[in-house]
Amino acid sequence: MNVPRFPGRLLWEQLRGAFSPAVIPVDLSQIATEENTMKDTDIRRLLYAHLLCIFSVILSTFIPSLFLEDFSVLETHLTWLCICSVSVTAVNLVFYLVVKPNPPSRRSSLSHKVGRFLKCCIYFLMSCFCFHVIFVLYGAPLIELALETFLFAVILSTFTTVPCLCLLGPNIKAWLRVFSRNGVTSIWENSLQITTISSFVGSWLGAFPIPLDWERPWQVWPISCTLGATFGYVAGLAVSPLWIYWNRKQLTYKNN
């Protein structure tokens, strides 16, 4: 493998070491226990990663008020959306580069990587537009509040498409497999499934209070949905390691 050496790669590997287990038992006679410990360490890494994501979401609500005047989640909602989206994407990317949960592909030339990256960007944009179209079909106003609707699409893509892209790459087949029943092959994919579905369900439920006549500021069109999506995402992040830990005995991921 001819890997071009990035500056700072060393640092990443050190970081990676922090996440990876200290000792990996290699005794072939104890495959079962090894699998279990593998799983446990994986779950631990998953938990840390998710805590980091939750932390980034929380930070994105509090940190900007130090720099920006009049910043609040409800009043300057669009700014918050952008900041939250950027921070979650950044955390996901860093995490992807550090941990590399999926096996690296065989061809990894620079041009291939750049192509892959561009493809990811295109996929992200496409998913944003797709979500936008779906929101309009669901009844969002077509012309007015278009920017708000689009930013909602962006944040929902951040919560759902970006982790997918990081974990599975721009590979529609793999996505379909992960999101069909019984198609999950690792803890990472399982947690991905849970967070994605909970973000969707969160934004779906977020639409419920809109028709109520409470006249609260958060009932305006995209706000309740974005908040719902965020809560759903955070809940998914929090729940998925626990759920996997609870069900670790039942979950068997056979690699062929």
């Binding site: 669901y138 009844g139 497999r177 019984n182 999950v184 028709p211 109520l212």
Partner: protein
Amino acid sequence: MRLGAGTFAACCVAIEVLGVAIFLRGFFPAPVRSSSTTEHRAESPAPEPSAGASSNWTKLPPPLFGKVVIMLIDALRDDFVFGSKGVKFMPYVTYLVERGASHSFVAEAKPPTVTMPRIKALMTGSIPGFVDVIRNLNSPVLLEDNVLRQAKAAGKRVIFYGDETWVKLFPKHFVEYDGTTSFFVSDYTEVDNNVTRHLEKVLKREDWDLLILHYLGLDHIGHLSGPNSPLIGQKLSEMDGVLMKIHMALLSKEKEALLPSLLVLCGDHGMSETGSHGASSTEEVNTALVLISSAFERKPDPGFEQFKMSERLHGNWIKRYLEENSSEVLLNLGSKVLRQYLDALQTLSLSLSRQVVQYDMYSMAVGATLVLEVRLMGVGNGTKPLLFKVLALLLLSIPKALSPAAELDVPLSSPLFSLLFYLTILVLSAIHVVVCTSTESTCYFCSMPWLAAGGAMLLMSALLCAIVSALTKTVVSAKRVGKNPAPPSVRWSELDLLILLGTMGHILSLGASSFIEEEHQTWYFLVSTLCLALCQEVCRNHFLGSDGDPQCGLREEPGPEGAMLTMQDGAEGCAALEEDRTRAAASAFERLGSMEQRMVLASPWAVLCCCRLLRALNQTGVQGAHRPDLGHWLTSSDHKAALSVLAALSLLAVFLLVQRRCSPMSKVALALGLLGVYCYRAAIGNVMSPWQRGNSDISKGIVEARFVYVFVFGILFTGTKDLLRSQVAAIAIKARTVGLWEIYSGLVLLAALLLRPHNLPVLVSSLLVQTLMAKFVWKPLNHGVAEVTVMHYWFGQAFFYFQGNSNNIATVDVSAGFVGLERYVEVPAVFLTAFATYVGPVLWASHLVNYLSSESSSHSALRHACFCYALICSIPVSAYIILVTSLRYHLFIWSVFSPKLLYEGMRLFVTAAICVFFTAMDQTRLTKP
């Protein structure tokens, strides 16, 4: 006694209709008429407690005014007179209001803001009963005590010109009248000219005391193009001119007369931002009221403006003290005052709601608060157990009905339960006697003949017994099953889960008043989600089923991901079942061509787009009602050409979509009928007609409408004939399918006639969605009968709202009841209105029958569908009745919850009719060899 599931469901729904009818009868008590006659008048001329308290009149007071002219302008909102529009277009009235001899007020109309109840309220001084809205169509003679009756009794001569409703309400009170029908909403000049043309003569004459003028034009303009149309200004100037004329005439007469005369300018209700009325928004409720007379000149009166001013000053005072003074004492004072205000508000609202409830009691029982509990007991007695039981019976029999046999054993003749039966009857009749004799109440259930009450009790106890026995049977069988190894738990697909959650969520949402007001949003949301879920299912079947072996399509994936996550909870059997279904669906998929597969993939999205377009057609509800929508754009007179083209295209599309399965005879009939529909719309002036240019005479279109009716009946008749023939002939199945489809197309033709032209796209897309879903979704994906039924129900509900309906009485399109009728005839008008309102659910249900009888292989499909349909329709109604009973002291009970209750009751009735139809179809199938 063995019953088919369908028959059983139909019976249950029929009983439920009975229960709801009794409940409604108790819930909407018939108003007690204050039928005080002329001898009462001598003692208390004004039956107002506040006035009566201060003075104790024994003789008639001297009259204050010689002549009175009441000029009632329909939909005269307060800002048309007092706002900027008034200043601009009504200069004379503004002059009078500002410096003339007049009193001006903003009068608040109590909802329902519909003309007939409002006229009643104005004339009797009572709050309009809710039931009056229903009677708005057929206004009976007003029997209550009212101003006109007293005027007539006092020998005053009353002349009336204007809306015909008055003539119906007061048939013998006018010495002279000329009624104008308010039926042709598109006409806003003739209706008013018809009133104004009499003025010249009448104002010169001396032989009258009270002149009432009811101008309809403003309301018609509002309905046509909303309150911001330029036509409003013209109309207001016209009205201003009329008022000036009357005022001048009165002033010139006053010189000779002894007494001054009074001119009253008022509106019966306001106009919402869309131009309609009926609900209780501020714009609809506030109307202008100006009293003009030279008698007012002498007395300086603070009037409305000064009251406003003082109110504002007071508010400012508190605010200033709260904001500027940081002194603790003042702050405390301020907050104390604020708290007092809040307390006062709270008591006010509390007493208000109490009063409303009391008003209910009033009408129910004569003036006693004690009756309250009893009434509820009585009503509850009569109805709720009935409903509960029916529902419970339905619920208990779910597992049985969904079993393949679809035959139910309704246990009625068990000897053990006869004892229970007699006991229940005894207890119930004891309660009945106690309730009915304990107070001097006029509880409806008590006033019913004993035979009917006894019948109801008999029914209730029989149902109770049936439930108990069914319950014991279920328990016993469950025990027997419990000994066996546990049956495989049924695994829910995403779609089933969505259907379950959606139904439950809808029922829960009925508890919130704003969710009821915006119920269309719930259904749109559910239908969109349903489409997405279908899309997901289609995609899964397509992508996972298409690579080779569908069963292990996952294993074929390259790379290390060829494994499956298996839940090791022993659910092997159900996994196999699930896989079976997936495989069946996937193999059905395989058989389709590539073009069709693409259609399958695209059709949920097409349906979704259709729904989104329809959403923009009619904005309904409360929050969104004022938003501009396509429907209003189309109906405004500037876009008549667009509307004509759209209507023509829609009719063409209806023909293309419906004709494919009709017999040639009915094809021709359908084409002619649809042509007739267009002619009818052209005749009554809704669309442009291609053959008579510039000739804008508006007729009632009776000939054209009856022409269409002939074809509707013809098609329905051929359909029925085919159905009957299918029972005897050998080619049963085919004739039956054709017959059913012909009945369906007859209904479509009737719908095309009754729906307003801008709603024709709703009909087209309903047909389109039905075709798409049946051909590309339900058939290839092998959906179960229950799923298909629930989806039909959901789409039916969504189309009910797409058509512009809401849970508000005002949106019922009453004009449908007059299509092809010379005058109001009760039975056909009610039928036509009901059909036009419930077009969506009815068409979807009849499509369900068609789909199941032509596609489904299982012979019990129709029975299952009937059972599911009855169940899914009656669950919300039953839940809603319980909710309404528990929320009966809610502030919005009359404005939000009770219209919804009426709608639900009506829908249950429609459902019962549909279930009977289902059962009849099922029977024809049973008798088939």
